[in-house]
């Protein structure tokens, strides 16, 4: 009999194996076009997993997470606008600038809780959105075309399969790294803050430093997802940082199951696939998607992961 934790680990492993086999399977089926859709799933999975760190483990409901997708993507776009094509420069800059933006936003928001935090994260996100709209040099409202993918020597990110596997590897590294993090000393403090902040103070921790650190890590990872997004679309516009996009990332995380990390991946798979296929069936796809999400939230408190596992998989690995 497997414990809940090892069952969860096994399910994650199966999910990752399935994602790893997707491109050859699609090629065998003669549907290579869908590899691009798969890459989109992976990119949003990275974003949703990064959100899960602060949402599912830190209790911070961010409605401005798409800002980091935008920051990461614009970093790549602007660098190549100025003729910098080196992929390492692109991705390291995207990570560093996202980290700085997250530090600035986090320093001014993580002290707040509940609805206040939601509103402040929303406000900062929209601020960046309007900043992108107003800077006409980089396309303003119309967005910015990117000449070519980030250059990594022999690795051609213009090849859909390569981009897919680069995204996949980043997702795996992020999942593994965050799994270690949420179970480390740091992670235990972060979860404790979510569970009972006054108690955390009375045993001698100042929650602020832990929340801010998690916030910056989360923003950095999401910025890297943004750099991937720029490479996939070769285009970046303010729309990618709109609060509606932040809401979608939030829905993916909640849909899959908060505080499980891999739940965010499941959420992304389901959300992006449904969005794609429903929108081809009907232009009113959101009218179908909405109720579906409500049903999952109502009937599976722990998200799809809990539904699949047949029981709640607690973030703290103990319920």
């Amino acid at each position: 009999m497997l414990t809940s934790a090892s069952r969860h680990g096994l399910a994650t492993l199966l999910l990752l194996v399935a994602l790893a086999l997707l491109p050859p399977a699609l090629n065998a089926l003669g549907e290579p076009f869908y590899i691009g859709l798969g890459t989109r799933v992976l990119i949003f999975a990275i974003a949703a997993v990064s959100l899960d760190l602060i949402l599912g483990y830190g209790g911070m409901v961010s409605l401005g997470h798409a800002a980091y997708l935008g920051v990461g993507a614009y970093t790549v776009g602007i660098l190549s606008f100025y003729g910098v094509q080196n992929g390492f420069v692109h991705f390291l800059s995207a990570a560093a600038i996202s980290a700085l933006v997250a530090l600035a936003i986090g320093a001014n928001s993580v002290r707040t809780t509940g609805i206040h935090f939601i509103m402040i994260s929303l406000a900062f996100g929209q601020m960046l959105y309007y900043l992108a709209v107003s800077v006409s040099q980089f396309g303003g409202d119309d967005g910015l075309n990117i000449d070519a993918q980030s250059a990594f020597g022999g690795l051609d990110l213009g090849d859909p399969t390569s981009l897919y596997y680069v995204s996949f590897c980043i997702l795996v590294v992020v999942l593994f790294g965050l799994d270690r993090l949420v179970n480390s000393r740091f992670g235990m403090v972060l979860r404790a803050v979510k569970s009972n902040e006054p108690r955390v103070r009375t045993i001698g921790f100042s929650p602020y430093r832990y929340k801010l650190t998690a916030f910056v890590i989360s923003g950095t990872i999401c910025g890297i997802a943004g750099a991937l997004l720029a490479n996939q679309n070769l285009f970046i516009s303010p729309a990618s940082m709109h609060w509606g996009r932040s809401g979608e990332i939030l829905i993916m995380t909640i849909l899959g199951g908060m505080g499980t990390l891999s739940g965010a991946v499941v959420g992304s798979v389901v959300y992006i696939s449904l969005e794609y296929f429903l929108s081809r069936l009907t232009e009113h796809w959101q009218a179908v998607m909405g109720p579906l999400i409500v049903l999952v939230v109502l009937f599976a408190g722990g998200g799809l992961v809990a539904l699949l596992a047949g029981r709640r998989v607690a973030g703290a690995g103990s319920r």
Partner: protein, 249 residues
């Protein structure tokens, strides 16, 4: 005579028109168990909250080990050796019983900015935590989520979390509240065994427990300390009998 571990001078706190803490001064010696008794609403929990740093006084001074901590936040006081348990049970419900205590051990065991090693596999955290669970009688419940513990067990865990930080001074706000007689007796034994190894401020309504455990007793009525003395002195103080103990007779 050793210097007091806690010295409170002229502490005042108002809630609008209500004076919850009215010029309170008292001190606690390093190995003393100092009980604070008083009727409901006397301001005992409010006083504890100010000592712990959850609430700032309007005026007055709090010295911990000789150092002024009046303006320090609660986490800074905890780092200076102050532990506390809450009147209303406050544990990490999603964590196992063991993880609750291990986290408190962690708070006193070096940096928590460690991101890789699994905390549950750190012997330096888990072993002391097991020893504490043993001490408060919860060893057999180590792997149960704290939220699933019975009320009395949660009270014991509450104490375990506070002890794990190895405080020099422990503030206990009604540790026996809501316990059955058997559990309460066990808690009294536990506190009796702790006596002498650290200083304690005990707020408690159970007079048998107070008179059994306390070295000194302070009586708080309407925010004012009307008397401080040994259990015998307190028992025979006419003002105390009238203001408080009289209620029980």
């Amino acid at each position: 005579m050793s210097a007091p571990i806690l010295a409170v001078q002229d502490l005042c706190l108002r809630f609008g028109g209500l004076i919850a803490t009215n010029n309170v001064s008292f001190s606690v010696k390093p190995d003393e168990l100092h009980a604070i008794i008083g009727p409901n609403g006397a301001g005992k929990s409010t006083l504890i909250a100010q000592l712990a740093g959850d609430r700032l006084p309007d005026s007055g001074q709090i010295l911990l080990g000789g150092a002024d901590v009046t303006g320090l936040p609660s986490h800074a006081r905890a780092q200076r050796g102050l532990g506390r348990s809450f009147q209303i049970t406050s544990v990490f419900s999603e964590f196992t019983t063991l993880a609750n205590v291990a986290l408190a051990v962690q708070a006193g065991a070096g940096s928590s900015f460690r991101f890789w090693k699994r905390a549950a596999r750190e012997h330096a955290l888990v072993e002391p935590a097991r020893a504490i669970l043993d001490r408060v009688g919860l060893s057999h419940r180590a792997d149960v989520p704290a939220g699933a513990l019975a009320h009395g067990e949660k009270r014991a865990l509450e104490l375990g979390i506070a002890l794990a930080r190895r405080p020099r001074l422990l503030l206990l706000d009604e540790p026996m509240a809501g316990m059955g007689p058997e559990e309460a007796a066990r808690m009294v034994e536990l506190l009796a065994a702790l006596k002498g190894s650290l200083a304690m401020v005990l707020v408690e309504h159970d007079m048998d427990a107070v008179f059994r455990l306390a070295d000194r007793i302070s009586v708080l009525v309407y925010g004012r300390l009307i008397a401080t003395g040994s259990p015998e002195e307190t028992r025979s103080n006419p003002e105390v009998r009238q203001a408080y103990l009289g209620e029980d007779e």
